[in-house]
């Protein structure tokens, strides 16, 4: 638990090298753990462990995991990794990170899961690439890294919160227009 507490601020800040360190520390043991119980290839096991690291990062950044974990970091990662491996054949990889509700104790039930919209990941990906780099960075920080407007002003040198807010809105409008063109 000390390990997680020490790494928490780095994960919260989006320091990806913290994930590399965790991986170097625990992945081999995870491979041995899985190989002794199931029949998966090593690359599949390593792949699942990488996914587990990303789940950890997402949960910290979106506030689903706080400064304290109820188990050790190793136990947490092994549980998530094993779950992902066993689900591998049932779920599309792109959405795997959104389907781990039982690892998100604080997550409320989403009343709008009956999504009928037809946007595909590839369309978003293609459109996102066409955005200007500052727009990409702004949306990445706001929606992925969970930055507040105050943090965005500080890290991306915007003149004020107002300008960051209107820039985010403009970038989203541009993205929506680009997606419409892709459809």
């Amino acid at each position: 638990m000390k390990e997680y507490k020490k790494l928490y601020p780095r994960l919260k800040a989006g320091d990806y090298f913290a994930l590399v360190e965790i991986r170097n520390r625990h992945q081999k043991a995870f491979v041995r753990f899985i190989e002794s119980r199931y029949q998966f290839r090593q690359d599949q096991i390593e792949d699942a462990f990488t996914d587990a690291l990303i789940v950890l990062l997402n949960n910290v950044q979106y506030g689903k995991l706080g400064e304290k974990l109820s188990s050790s970091l190793k136990t947490y990662l092994f549980s998530v990794g094993r779950f992902l491996l066993l689900q591998e054949h049932r779920k599309r990889k792109e959405f795997i990170f959104d389907n781990l509700d039982h690892y998100f104790p604080e997550r409320s039930v989403d009343p709008y899961t009956d999504d009928e919209s037809s946007l595909e990941l590839d369309q978003l990906k293609a459109s996102f690439k066409k955005l200007s780099p500052p727009c990409q960075e702004l949306l990445r920080k706001f929606y992925y890294q969970g930055y507040s407007y105050e943090e965005i002003v500080e890290s991306l040198d915007y003149a004020s919160i107002e300008s960051a807010r209107s820039q985010r809105y403009n970038c989203m409008q541009t993205l929506k227009k680009l997606i419409k063109k892709e459809l």
Binding site: Y16, V20, I54, D115, E137
Partner: protein
């Protein structure tokens, strides 16, 4: 508690939807917003669209991060994850292992000539002819694409062979040159890496975030501790995502005379 979400202002409306979807509303505010949504199909639809956009944005970023993690960890050559003192031991040990492997490969070559080629093929981690590819006559753009394929598989030496054969870097955009620099850094060709990074400096927010930390690490590896300190201090003061790493590296710099 009533939410302050006017539906006559598109920007404020979207900000409210964001606050709802990003869990930034208080429980009361959230309950109130859900109640409004249940009686407003247009709002409900807008929330759905925004929710899907956010999911896809996150999935897209996760896919990029996964690729980066796989490349970084599989190479095990990153100067970032190997501390300087440890590196001094890694090289001699690696050299001994390579010699031991060569002896293991050569003994059956002399004793069982028929099986030698087969044994080598089984043991070699990458096809042995990659480094002697005849790349003459291939244009720079194709060389770059070939190099990126090696890069994506974590075969950085082979990627660098392709990049080094490019006549000019104008065949690729700034993002491409950034990857050439990154590959050069991973194979410890720091002069080439610095040359590539210098040519894209200031062109992209993305580079602005990564280049200072790379500068610091490379200057550390080159033993230019004053320059390393300057770059790392800049990252540390910036409070960006690499600030904790920069602080850690700063603490590892040798004391000044």
């Amino acid at each position: 508690m009533k939410t302050d979400c006017p539906n006559n202002n598109p920007q404020l409306l979207e900000e409210c939807i964001d606050r709802y979807l990003l869990n930034r509303m208080s429980p009361d505010e959230k309950a109130d917003y859900e109640k409004t949504m249940s009686t407003d199909p247009a709002l409900k639809q807008q929330v759905r669209i925004q929710q899907q956009l956010i999911r896809h944005l996150r999935a897209n970023e996760n896919a990029s991060l996964k690729k980066w993690l796989q490349n970084t960890v599989q190479s095990s050559r990153s100067p970032i994850i190997i501390q300087k003192r440890a590196w001094k031991w890694v090289l001699p040990i690696a050299a001994l292992l390579v010699m031991a492997l060569m002896v293991t490969l050569l003994i059956p070559h002399f004793t069982q000539e028929k099986n030698a080629e087969q044994s080598f093929t089984q043991l070699a981690p990458v096809p042995q002819n990659y480094l002697s590819l005849d790349l003459r006559g291939i244009d720079s753009h194709s060389l770059f694409n070939m190099g990126m394929k090696f890069y994506e598989k974590g075969n950085y030496d082979e990627a660098m062979v392709c990049f080094n054969k490019m006549d000019d870097w104008e065949a690729v955009d700034a993002n491409g040159i950034f990857y050439i620099g990154l590959t050069a850094m991973l194979v410890k060709d720091f002069q080439k890496a610095i040359q590539a990074f210098d040519s894209v400096r200031g062109q992209d927010f993305y580079f602005r975030e990564y280049l200072p930390i790379y500068d610091g690490i490379m200057q550390m590896e080159l033993g230019n501790y004053a320059k390393a300190e300057e770059s790392l201090q800049q990252v540390s003061d910036g409070n960006g995502k690499f600030a904790p790493l920069a602080k850690e590296l700063l603490s590892k710099l040798p004391p000044k005379d």
